[in-house]
């Protein structure tokens, strides 16, 4: 008797499942809608990282938006120029511009021993949590907090602590999605061109005398870089030197003359 009931149950569920499955199979054949073939082609061109840098939920929805002519063709940061070219071919649009690859970088080299700290932090390991507490445990409120929020959020694994236990982005691995820029509370993670040769690793807009008190590698706005490399695009604004990467001039002598050594070559790699 029990066996019969088990058999009934088995037949009922299996039969129902088969019936519904067959129904769906038929329905999908009769009710199929011809999809835009370009969408599949676009998805093949896009890198498939689903990083969301374009502002859409993923590569598939960006492809659909392109095919529906709702989105710009050049929004894919990881794909860069190759993706833009592929998209333009599929959409039969002329593409002759160039897209310069940009990568974010940590504009701070102040860690233990170089920067002054206000207090010891033992809270959860998250930059935004630390930042909510008096803007961080450093005296400098502009620098890298040194926790691993950007490392956690990076889909490419491009960010890590380097040999000096400071956070650094590996520009070879970086896909340029910008998630670390979004998550960083101090704004020390800033965009630079992939081709940038030198980088001013300071984000402090405090006056030079104050920076000198709390950090040994901060920009003190002495303007020596401006004077030594007049063609290099160095510009001191708000007591912080910034490089205009549109200028092609020589930057080496300005970097080497920096008294706090806060202009460094952009060829570091995080330790593996």
């Amino acid at each position: 008797m029990v066996l019969v009931r088990i058999l009934y149950a088995f037949i009922a569920v299996a039969g129902l499942g088969m019936l519904l499955g067959a129904g769906l199979a038929f329905a999908s054949r009769f009710l199929s809608v011809r999809k835009d073939e370009r969408i599949a082609a676009l998805e093949a061109v896009l890198p498939g990282l689903n990083c969301g840098a374009c502002g859409y939920a993923g590569c598939a929805s960006y492809a659909a938006a392109i095919a529906g002519e709702e989105a710009s063709l050049t929004l894919c940061a990881p794909g860069g120029e190759d993706a833009a070219k592929g998209i333009s071919e599929i959409m039969e649009v002329e593409f002759n511009g160039t897209i310069e690859k940009k990568v974010p970088q940590v504009h701070c080299r102040g860690g233990q021993g170089r920067s002054e700290y206000e207090f010891d932090y033992f809270g959860i390991k998250d930059c935004n949590a630390l930042y909510a507490l008096l803007g961080g445990n450093k005296v400098c409120k502009f620098g890298c907090l040194g926790l691993d929020s950007c490392i956690q959020v990076c889909p490419a694994g491009a960010i890590d602590y380097d040999s000096e236990s400071l956070i650094w982005v590996d520009k070879e691995v970086c896909i340029g999605c910008g998630k670390c820029v979004e998550v960083c509370p101090t704004g020390v993670m800033r965009w630079i061109p992939y081709s940038a040769d030198y980088i001013v690793v300071c984000n402090s807009t405090d006056k030079g005398a104050r920076v000198r008190k709390y950090c040994s590698v901060g920009c003190i706005a002495c303007k020596i870089c401006e004077k030594k490399s007049p063609e290099g695009g160095y510009k001191v604004e708000d007591f912080l030197s910034k490089i205009d990467y549109n200028t092609e001039g020589e930057r080496k002598s300005g970097a080497e003359a920096c008294p706090t050594k806060c202009i460094v070559r952009n060829d570091r790699h995080p330790k593996k």
Partner: protein, 196 residues
Amino acid sequence: MTYIGIIITFVFISNFILTQFLGLCPFIGVSRKMDSAVGMGFAVIFVMSMAALATWVIYHLILVPLSLEFLQTMTFILIIATLVQFVEMVIQKISPPLYKALGIYLPLITTNCAVMGIALIAVRSNYSALESFIAGFSAGVGFLLAILVMSSIREKLDTEWVPKPFRGIPIAFITAGLMALAFMAFDKALLKNLLG
């Protein structure tokens, strides 16, 4: 009178979100913007009424005659998932604008506990086919009501100053909790007073 009783019960007294705490995932996830909340609300109304009706049919025509009531959970999952997929296909074929409005929300609720909940509750309450349908419809309306109120509050909250640790999801949950407190005013005694 019982139909009105069912409607009041499922829209207010046992509102799926605010008193039974079913379907919280779309409630928090899709209540950011008013228009997507409305889209989700209507998709839920649609799926819940259809699911309540379809599960009633299968339960009373297949499971009860074979005395296999214990299989209800499993078969209901099967039916609801199939039904939603089927409905999605039909809408996509017949009405692209409606598909654009509801389409992206439909797959989200194939396996939603609120839809499953209404099917099981309707069976447990021994409702007739029409009563099940009405129960499903009004539970959906209750969902729409809750998510609509929630989304309008959240749109306002976006422009307000909220303490940093509470921004985003935390303040949404606190808001939902306060709304649930307000909905405690609707109880069975109210229904008795209303319907005598």
